[in-house]
């Protein structure tokens, strides 16, 4: 499931406006770097591709390259909102530049990098907010779809009727989860569509990854809903249980503001909450172009909650009477 965190090569646009021999040497060395997939072209074309996220960064070698007063000065264009990628690209480029410099002079640094944020995806508060809101809606829809329904099914004796058949709790839970997932996917797709269409939200990462997180999140919260539904006797008693589960997460899971702005003491706990790991992963995909199958704290958190929620849903599931 996880790739082990090995980064994909960075798509790097390269515009060489200089006729200096040093610039050609630089281009040649950059192309040899395994961490880059280099595409050469005209500045306007490559800037356009950068805006569309077809390129991750763009290096422009100016006409005045290797001339006074700033010999060796390059321009690096990228989206500064992708901080981690920007750092990685800069580190890699600096290493390349140093290598060239050693080749040629081996005395003092010849090059300097000037970082320019092209603001192709300027991040607004709504961009930050949307993934969190989607995750919060996902949690509420799922718990309403399983927890409240299961209490009602039990009250009416529908579960008991199913219990007299050979169906096992895990099969029943999986079948309800799959059916609910389909409905929830449609509901969230409508919200996402409206956000993209009306609020001009820019989803930087892949939609498939985003939907992957939504499906995993749906599974987790539906299972939690089953668990809460097993503890509650009536519709009245499940409401406070659901509130007890959802409300703290609304505050602590970084839906409206980053978890880093919370007091230091509660940040470790906040980071471990199911809504936190789902919202953070969705935000990482939507805002930073991250992937789903990357080994990090949040993906491990999703894996943990995936297994744990299914365990408690099946372990505590009751067909006829509430758990004591």
């Amino acid at each position: 499931m996880f790739s082990g965190g090995e980064p994909d090569p960075t798509k790097l646009g390269l515009v060489n406006q200089s006729q200096d021999a040093l610039s050609f040497k630089f281009v040649e060395l950059v192309k040899k770097e395994k961490t880059f997939v280099v595409k050469e072209g005209a500045e306007s074309t490559l800037i356009n591709e950068l805006m569309l996220a077809d390129q991750t960064a763009l290096i422009i070698i100016p006409e005045t390259f290797n001339q006074s007063p700033n010999p060796g000065k390059l321009r690096l264009l990228l989206d500064a909102s992708q901080v981690r990628q920007a750092d990685a690209i800069r580190d890699s480029l600096e290493a390349t530049l140093l290598s060239i410099e050693r080749d040629l002079r081996n005395i003092k640094p010849m090059f300097s990098l000037e970082l320019e944020d092209v603001k192709s995806r300027p991040q607004r508060y709504i961009d930050f907010l949307l993934p969190g809101i989607l995750a919060y809606m996902l949690m509420n829809l799922c718990i309403a779809g399983s927890g409240f329904n299961i209490v009602e099914y039990r009250r009416r004796g529908i579960l008991k009727r199913l219990f007299v058949t050979p169906i096992q709790p895990k099969d029943f839970i999986i079948s309800i989860v799959l059916a609910r997932m389909f409905i929830i996917l449609i509901q969230l797709s409508v919200i996402l569509g409206l956000a993209i269409g009306l609020l001009k939200i820019n989803i930087v990462g892949g939609l498939i990854s985003l939907y992957g997180v939504i499906l995993l999140g749906a599974f987790i919260f539906l299972c939690v809903g089953f668990f809460l539904g097993s503890l509650a006797k009536t519709q009245e008693s499940i409401r406070p249980l659901v509130l007890l589960f959802t409300f703290p997460q609304l505050i602590l899971s970084g839906i409206f503001f980053p978890i880093s702005s919370l007091p230091q003491l509660i940040q470790p706990l906040a980071n471990c909450l199911p809504l936190s790991v789902i919202a953070s992963t969705m935000r990482n995909i939507a805002n930073d172009g991250g992937g789903l199958f990357v080994m990090n704290f949040n993906s491990l958190g999703i894996l943990f909650w995936f297994l744990f929620s299914f365990f408690i849903a099946t372990k505590f599931f009751v067909w006829q009477k509430v758990a004591s």
Partner: protein, 254 residues
């Protein structure tokens, strides 16, 4: 040859009056139900009939004793037992917006079997209600449909929990005939009932329960001979209701 063997069966529930204490809802009972018979469990409210039935069906945890259903240990393999039995519950509710045909197909899928809904509904005289919703059925039709649901896996044993409660005489007779027909086809039937006439008419043998114990078990005729008032006494002709009242008293139970 017995198809159900229960030995030293026990079930305890928390005592409502005394916290932390339990009382025996079923108290160390032995049962042997023969293949192909209609076996009745009679008793006043709270006697332990439904609890006993649910333990035989694998629906309720068995606190003590053992149950073998068709040589399958219910405690160890409740899901195996459920594959070979059909259960009609006291009250039945179903998923909204599913008609009778949909529901029968759903239940058949739960047993991993395929059925012809119309043919199954015809067995309980409901074939014209194929696309009706359960809420649109009368009381008698609902009970017959719940039996149809219990028949989707063509069970060896059919459990009926107070099948005629609340039905009018016609619906009651209709359901009795259905039970007789199924029994004639070779199906073993175990039922609980408050209805003495029903027990006397349907059952080959009857166990009378009170306070979690079996206080009498025999054929209806033998029970009448053993427990009903003698002909010279009033009433002149005894029946199973007389037996029941003689054994369990006249006091109201709830």
């Amino acid at each position: 040859m017995s198809i159900i063997e229960a030995t030293n069966l026990e079930k305890h529930y928390p005592c409502p009056e005394k916290s932390g204490e339990t009382f025996p809802a079923v108290n160390n009972i032995d049962l042997s139900i023969n293949t192909g018979e209609i076996f009745g469990l009679l008793g006043p409210n709270g006697a332990g009939k439904t609890t006993t039935l649910e333990m035989l069906e694998g629906l309720s945890v068995i606190d003590g004793g053992d149950v073998l259903v068709d040589n399958i240990d219910v405690k160890k393999n409740p899901y195996q037992v459920k594959k070979i039995i059909g259960v009609q519950l006291q009250s039945n509710e179903y998923f909204d917006r599913l008609n009778l045909s949909d529901l029968l197909l759903l239940f058949a899928n739960l047993y991993s079997t395929s059925i012809e809904p119309k043919a199954l509904l015809a067995r309980v005289n409901l074939e014209e209600k194929l696309f009706a919703l359960p809420d649109d059925l009368s009381g008698g039709q609902k009970q017959r449909f719940s039996i149809a649901c219990a028949l989707v896996n063509n069970p060896k044993i059919l459990f009926l929990d107070e099948p005629t409660t609340g039905l009018d005489p016609q619906a009651k007779r209709n359901l009795w005939n259905l039970a007789k027909d199924l029994n004639d086809e070779g199906m073993t039937i175990v039922l609980t009932t408050h209805n003495m006439e029903e027990a006397e008419y349907l059952c080959d043998r009857i166990a009378i329960m009170d306070k979690g114990s079996i206080i009498a078990l025999d054929t209806p005729q033998q029970l009448i001979l053993d427990y009903a008032p003698k002909p010279q006494e009033i009433p002149l002709h005894g029946n199973i209701e007389d037996v029941f009242l003689a054994l369990t008293g006249h006091g109201l139970r709830d």
